[in-house]
Symmetry: C2
Subunit: 363 residues, 2 copies
């Protein structure tokens, strides 16, 4: 079934629930492109297996994989992960997958946003992106879920919702002219509300320093539950991340959410700066039109890029002194979840982290 | 989830139900290979759309399609057909798909038979067939159904079951040394019983004259319900099909089924001989290792190659004088179903018919 509705989720009584509510499962995409992932994506594939295995302790995981990599992925993944064939340009299910929406009757549909590889021909990260743009539709058909095709470029990682009317995003990304140059801020807000069911948009200014997504919110700030957000943080005044986190903190302190609540803010101190090594840079194919991975470049590492699943939270580890504090802090605020740490440097090297490679399907 | 059981369906209380029982839906595969389907498979694709549309009146249809053909298939198929990406070597879901089995509790699993393209390197129809052999597993994963990997080469079209213990097949196919040269007739019977739950095997000698599958039973004889079979027929004593249908009739008259019933036999008179035209032959790419489609070759046309779906029966039409009689006869014996006729010459040109391109998923 491939029903595409001409209406909007809001008009039909559907809304996007918070990630912290119960999931039917998690969708991911298998990494393979050698011009983004070093050494033919072999180290990244191991990291993705670790993430999928960690999530599969808590809920069903489906891995979309190209025909080329099907056998290898099926062989590397545990039996309790469902593997389905699906072509793709890269492995960022958060950004290319559907934003699932539900109504009060337990029915499921999905929003298929337009996708242009984080900026199209004006700063996008690779070309082409046609297969990525078809992923949401393919996932929705497998799940027999109806589809809304939103008239706007948006990646799932550039928004977070509390499912109670509040949507968090950044100006750096959503107002970037390489996404929707023909839409005003008001028109963008209207679309966000129509397609997620939110009634109030909370704008941060920027995402994490040097984030190649143009500042996706999911790397800097997210909801742990309505009224409670996590924010990436640094105490180092000389770090370029310092003013960004400061500004976000000030805005969040000022804002109230759609329900009128003031937000409680949990700071997750970032790891020390993580730079790409010569060895890591050298393992990536150089291809015109794909963002290169150059020695010495600082990566946008953040513990906020974790993923909430049923009874669990899967958080990146960077072999850094702050790893333990991040886990302990998160565990303190999520007493009913088991916080699981997965080594994520190989995912970070590809330009994102655990939240970027996952997509929840609500129950 | 990708559970492969080391047991057998019989051991676990599962059996293959008759095609005439209720379905959850129908699986098909989109045709595209230009060395089997003329004119880049464009005429065949229209015929598959007609078949999918006919079935979709009665129950959900899922069409597996390669990445290459995804957009074209999605565009050509109606919205109520689910399209999922799946690589393949050709489009015979009956033969490469799972044989679904159920238990008394409404649970679903599937048998993934070994596949060697109707004879492997000894008379098989093309090479390679690795993608076809993976189709059953991929379908089962999408449906979250556990899998049995049967230790035997078998195509779904080479067996028919009544779901009450009886299995119908042909010696020409199942005892052909190009399928399971190391298995005796007894061992093959044992496997059939273990993997379908049948207790009695009824053997016909041959399939339809010049059938390139080495005589699949689904082109010559099938169950309309327990105790009632349809048999392809000709009154022309000079037709090479005559002795084949005679022999089948005699055997079927002699046999009783697993429940001890004598079989009632409905004759469906075949169409007049249908030969490949010069024009049709010329539209097919010549490729070493793929069976050529040569001008003047007689095709194995049979009305028995119909498909039963929920409340319906979809039967091939050949623009032949016998088309109408076949529909009327079938309608008479299936008073509770709507018999729908679909022009099928373009499917026949590829080497099979409506039953060969479909696979039922029981409810």
């Amino acid at each position: 079934m491939s029903t595409t509705f001409e209406t909007t989720p809001r008009a039909d009584g559907y809304y996007m629930p918070g990630e912290f509510t119960m999931h039917a499962g998690t969708w991911m995409i298998w990494p393979e492109r050698p011009d983004n992932w070093r050494l033919g994506a072999k180290p990244a594939q191991k990291a993705f297996v670790a993430v999928a295995s960690a999530i599969a302790q808590f809920e069903p995981v489906s891995m979309a994989v190209s025909a080329r990599q099907y056998q290898n992925a099926r062989g590397m993944l545990p039996a309790n992960v469902r593997v389905v064939e699906m072509s793709n340009n890269d492995s960022w299910m958060r950004d290319v997958g559907p934003s699932f929406v539900v109504n009060g009757k337990g029915q499921l549909r999905g929003v298929d946003w337009m996708f242009n590889a984080w900026g199209g021909l004006d700063g996008g990260l690779y070309f082409p992106w046609d297969l990525d743009d078809a992923v949401a539709q393919k996932v929705l058909e497998i799940e027999n879920a109806g589809r809304y095709r939103a008239p706007m470029v948006l990646e799932g990682g550039s928004i977070h919702v509390d499912g109670e009317g509040t949507l968090l995003t950044t100006e750096e990304c959503l107002l970037n002219p390489n996404r929707n140059p023909d839409l005003s801020r008001d028109e963008i807000e209207t679309n966000l509300k129509e397609y997620t069911g939110a009634s109030k948009i909370l704008w941060l200014q920027n995402g994490v320093y040097n984030d190649e997504t143009n500042g996706h919110v999911d790397n800097i700030c997210c909801f742990l539950r309505p009224g409670l957000v996590a924010l990436t943080w640094t105490d180092d005044h000389n770090d370029p991340q310092y003013p960004i986190s400061q500004d976000a903190y000030e805005r969040l302190s000022r804002y109230s959410d759609a329900a009128g609540r003031k937000l409680e803010i949990v700071k997750l101190h970032q790891p020390d700066p993580i730079l790409i090594t010569a060895d890591e840079s050298e393992g990536v194919d150089a291809v015109d039109g794909t963002l290169p991975r150059e020695e010495g470049d600082r990566m946008a590492a953040s513990y906020v890029n974790f993923y909430l699943c049923n009874g669990g939270a899967v958080i990146p580890a960077f072999d850094d002194l702050h790893d333990r504090l991040a886990v302990e802090t998160l565990q303190k605020y999520l007493p009913d979840r088991k916080v699981v740490s997965v080594a994520a440097r190989e995912i970070l090297l590809g330009g994102g982290n655990i939240h970027c490679i996952t997509q929840q399907q609500p129950q």
